[in-house]
């Protein structure tokens, strides 16, 4: 792969969370019918159901702050695992929540990536 995987992962992460924080329904473009999200233990499949879940979370606004991004190629299919840790600030809350999230990105025929696997967990103290 001629593109630096770390640069690709960082670009994806920045795109994902800025979309989440400013235009959550547009996240649908990053998932397909076979995409899976496990959100705090709840399992969902398919772009529609995933966006349905993310746009109905019990807050209007939020701000993700990214602390670490790690990535690795994920095997012969050209996919990439991305592992993120960071903070999630909700309006009105005094302290930010801490979270970890894992994405498994797969290449699309058009030359970009979509999210096949997505697992999100809050990290409680």
């Amino acid at each position: 792969m001629s593109i630096d995987p770390d640069a690709l992962a960082t670009a994806f992460v920045q795109h994902y969370y800025s979309t989440f924080d400013t235009n959550r329904s547009a996240l649908g473009n990053l998932y397909k019918d076979n995409s899976m999200l496990t959100f705090e233990g709840q399992k969902l499949q398919g772009a529609q159901n995933i966006v349905g879940k993310l746009t109905s979370l019990p807050f209007q606004q939020c701000q993700h702050g990214i602390t670490t991004v790690d990535c690795q190629p994920s095997g012969p299919s050209g996919g990439m695992l991305v592992f993120v840790s960071g903070n999630l600030q909700l309006p009105g809350e005094q302290h930010a929540l801490k979270f970890s999230q894992m994405f498994h990105l797969m290449p699309t025929p058009e030359g970009s990536f979509y999210v096949l696997n997505d697992i999100f967990r809050l990290n409680y103290a």
Partner: protein, 107 residues
Amino acid sequence: MDPDAVAKAFVEHYYSTFDTNRPGLGNLYQDSSMLTFEGLKVQGAQNIVAKLTTLPFQQCKHSVTTVDCQPSGTGGMVVFVSGNLQISGEQHALKFSQVANNFPYQL
């Protein structure tokens, strides 16, 4: 087999091996395996086991809080774990998260 049961069994095996027989972890990795440990990238079972067996503590105990898994395409499974790591002599446990992408063993 139920994927969640497989993931749970893997996680229990991995951390009990880590906590009691760290060199035994080598059986779980191959030449193509990759570990990124606190940002440090290591490849291959030998190098991975060398890293894990030279961490600056003799004894540790992992306790797992959450295990999530999903099929990851081409027969693989991603497993996402969060938990605590108690290092002997330390007053407070460290908190950790770990992701593994597991593939069926090719005979």
